[in-house]
Symmetry: D2
Subunit: 345 residues, 4 copies
């Protein structure tokens, strides 16, 4: 039984980790931390856990958590995770960090978009935790940087096409739409029910911090530098990201051709599903699952493709993928505790 | 491996049965029927099943389904189920019927509220499928009438108090609120997104067909005739019923007293959770689960209690409870495939 | 042209006052205050005002606002309004106060439920601002206490029946459901989209602070003391309150009898609409309007009535009613700027 | 007082016409038709009209409606409108047709995307009813083809840039998101609350019928042929369209430059609002209004612009614009009955 700790467990990502791990047959939750909820039962903060998880939030430092757990999820915000993660590593623990702190390999890019980095020496050791691309490296890693939610949907959606070189790399436009849980559980005016419900808007267009992460990974896959015009939008739903990705095809291809190419690329992947011809993904079909659904439309006249990908931002976009990484890093079956069907309707 | 059939599987209840059964370790889905979707893959109607359930809807009669399955869920509408269920019984199959057709023991009450009954001889043999009250009878039954969604929330919410005789039986008012999935998947103007979203209303107040079902069961528990003033409302959510039940207490009792009484009554129940003092249930804490959460408030001055109970109408209120009954009827662990945590947020 | 000031204009009630007043032909908005948004254009906080209202929030004291305006709406929270309102009165201005500070006549009741009162001497002078009951007093008043949102729906829903003495006063149970805007625009975890969306719960059952306000007013109408068991619930919608009010009838009456009685009582009222027999109100039919819709169901066997009333909590439950009061207090046509049709769908 | 008729008034567009016209000071509603609701009061179908509009649906032919009204809105679906409109014209009535039947000038394009045209001789006489572009022609027209909802948002969003020739015409991608009311009030499975709520998907990507309408109008403005890659999405909100339009700039321009250009282009327009720099439109800021809000983001490195435009699809995208056209065609002030502020929150 693997003893896991969740460092910074009070937000939506933390509770999603607890929600999934509570039913993981190979894992015991040894410690969950929260300064705000210190000493309070998880079930008092999240009543859904009543009778299902008998655990209290503790306010413990990294060393104490490392003493209790064999494996650690850090669910702190960026800029804070980088203070704690080195201590977990030093204590010899395996870590999946869910912040942005170890996703970018180039410290100058990180510092341009986020803040000064406190442990840049770990950047070269961290593995980018997208199992569909880096399964082997993840299996051998001590520190995995769990991908951002938008990047997960975009990289999975574009990787096969960029790998095969069928897209004009200067033509990529990504129009993403995310549910409100992506903004976290901090009380902010913009996240209030009355502000979000019935509304829809774009925000941070062409300047969202997830862009360099996408560009880094898509660049590696394509073997050349990639620039993306990325436009995120806020959806009045709780869970889900749908990314609609536009690019010019270098040669004539039909939707059927793309489906074949993607099905071959993701042949052995349990969590990536390619929609049949004529169908496009809906976030409601992946709600509460670790799946990424991908579909295509082609504008033959303009030789342009639209790739649509859908994930649950809290699941495949955060906690589910983190647990997928943990399963790989510890030699468990990759889909353990992750094989649920979407909650629909 | 138990081979199960779902007769009338295309609606929300049918798909919820498939969704849960697809992950049930002791069960294989042998047949799912739908006239409307004959020959179409389940995953083409409900894309969430893509890659998870490789099955087509078939248009088969009861005999054919009985030939393929050992255990049958009938998910037809009331008035139609009564034509098929006798054939399943005749073929020696165990059946859980999710319609209203076998819930009322008195055929005249049934015919007053529904329609002429085609197989009244089965009414005396059918067991009312609320495991928390009738576990033994269900274990021995060939035909279980799965309770209505409203009645499940109301009976679980009032049973302990009525059993103990602490309520004035003439004082019971039930104000229930249900999500839109309770109206099914038939295209009706009143069920359209634009009609439901942002709205809220009562409907069928004091004349809803689930009332006699509640009165029958609560009367049995209390040992005397019970009349309920039942007022259902339509909530702009997909899943969930919250029932707020008001009654006059026969003697002074505090919320803490009620909590003790209910905790004792439901001591061995995995799916009924009594909220701690000061807390009241939220439908979002039971979403996607087989749980019923119950909480209390007492108006000491008026010696009146409010009991709040929350369920997921498609799960504990329909498909989940049906599978709980199947587990009991076939000797499986009662919570097999039913032990998930609520999808929150 | 009446110069009006809004003291504490940054919340949802303040913006609703601005939204309605911006189109009021007899009014000019002379000052809107907000400490938080000092110097910021209203349209920068609420983009819907862009090109429609050219005004900045100012951080001004009561005296300064009194110097700029002839008529003042105080939209401060309870406990704070009581500091400012006496200064407006002293300056000879007419005031509608939208807080709870002047609604309760008995200072001890106020102090039991809220806080110590800083200007109790005004309690006897303030008029309770429900025009359907106190139109004459409002016309002559200098200070009007605008009713709470829940009390507006409940008092309008029960007044005719209590006036006529047809209800057992000990039997009244009020089950109210309110949209999330009732909780205001302060960022609180419980008001986040992800917490409210898809959820439904009761809160503060039998102990909500609006209860004494209802009891005071319904007691005055009925001529005897009234105690109410009041259970509020939080709806996942932005605007709207639906109150379902249960009581025992003292004599047999049909829904048609009640409709006649209520239609007679509200004969000259433009903003109260009695639903035809068989129909019940929906909050979506009053969204964005000053209307209160009322409908009935009768449980003849139990001699119990359910009265349903629907209002828009920000409009008839707050800003719209405040402007209705202003129109009356200043001799304008009562429905000026208030005659819109509901935004449906 | 202008007597207006609404032919085919029972859907959401028809009810929105009634909702706005009921408060139009220069108009009397003389006839509203519906086969389905023949003889039923409008307020019985749409309770929001209770006490506000005393009118029954009639089942009358075009001649009868023409006999009662001076001005006619045809709100029939495409393919049906073309049968009735010629009769209104023959009777000498002015008409705004809200279907697609007279929007396309080239009958072969129409017939490719819709159906055989029954009155192609009127195509040359109909004026495309976008007042911001064709005010003079509309003023002189007998038949105005009211624009589609998507085209309204897209044409207003791209017209200034294409007029000035600053965009590469081969680079235009339009990612639009529409609320569910765009699908109308016909009961369809895909429009049910439970199917739409919590979901999000693209549909008809690169093959939506509104595309040729956009291409026709944008081609006229730019003076050259325009091809658009158009990808519509379904939003889980009732009202609102947000279009995010991407194009390559022919020369370096900042967001501020675009704002200046658009503000100049729409200088005299009351219903088009250009967001200040850094701000982007939200559909909730135009809900229930005739406004179109437009904002910009520029990706300097890629020399790419994103233009966001927001409208209420039932208002500026249908009924409101139709009434704006009527006001122009009959010499009334253009914003009569159209000057409301958005219903927010």
């Amino acid at each position: 039984m693997l003893r896991v700790g969740i460092y910074g467990a009070s937000g939506y990502t933390g509770q999603e980790l607890m929600r999934i791990l509570a039913r993981h047959p190979g894992v015991g939750i040894a410690a969950v931390t929260s300064r705000r909820y210190k000493g309070i039962a998880v079930a008092d903060v999240y009543p859904a856990f009543q009778g299902r998880l008998d655990l209290k939030f503790m306010d413990a430092g990294p060393e104490e958590v490392a003493g209790r757990a064999d494996f650690i999820f850090s669910a702190l915000p960026h800029g804070t995770a980088m203070e704690a993660v080195p201590l977990f590593i030093k204590a010899g623990k395996k870590v999946v960090d869910l912040s942005a702190d170890y996703r970018l390999r180039d410290v100058s890019v990180f510092e341009k978009h986020y803040c000064r980095h406190a442990s840049p020496e770990l950047l070269g050791k961290a593995v980018y935790g997208l199992p569909e691309l880096y399964r082997k490296e993840i299996a051998a890693a001590g520190l995995v940087a769990n991908p951002g939610c938008y990047p997960t949907s975009v990289i999975l959606g574009l990787a096969p096409a960029l790998k095969k070189g069928i897209l004009d790399p200067a033509s990529i436009i990504v129009d993403s739409k995310s549910g409100a849980s992506g903004a976290g559980r901090e009380p902010k005016t913009g996240s209030l029910f009355c502000e979000v419900n019935g509304g829809f808007k774009a925000y941070n267009v062409f300047k969202h911090r997830h862009t360099p992460e996408m560009e880094q990974e898509l660049g590696r896959i394509s073997g050349s530098e990639i620039r993306i015009s990325f436009a995120p939008h806020l959806l009045p739903i709780t869970r889900g990201i749908l990314s609609t990705m536009y690019a010019t095809l270098r040669r004539d291809m039909s939707a059927a051709d793309l489906i074949s190419l993607y099905r071959a690329f993701y042949r052995d992947e349990k969590f990536v599903r390619i929609c049949p011809e004529g169908a496009l993904p809906n976030v409601s079909s992946v709600r509460g699952t670790n799946c990424c659904d991908i579909g295509f439309a082609v504008d033959g006249e303009q030789r342009r493709v639209a790739v649509c990908s859908a994930i649950d931002n809290l699941f495949k976009g955060a906690a589910g993928q983190a647990i997928q990484n943990m399963n790989i890093m510890t030699g468990l079956e990759e889909d353990t505790a992750l094989d649920m069907l979407a909650l629909f309707p």
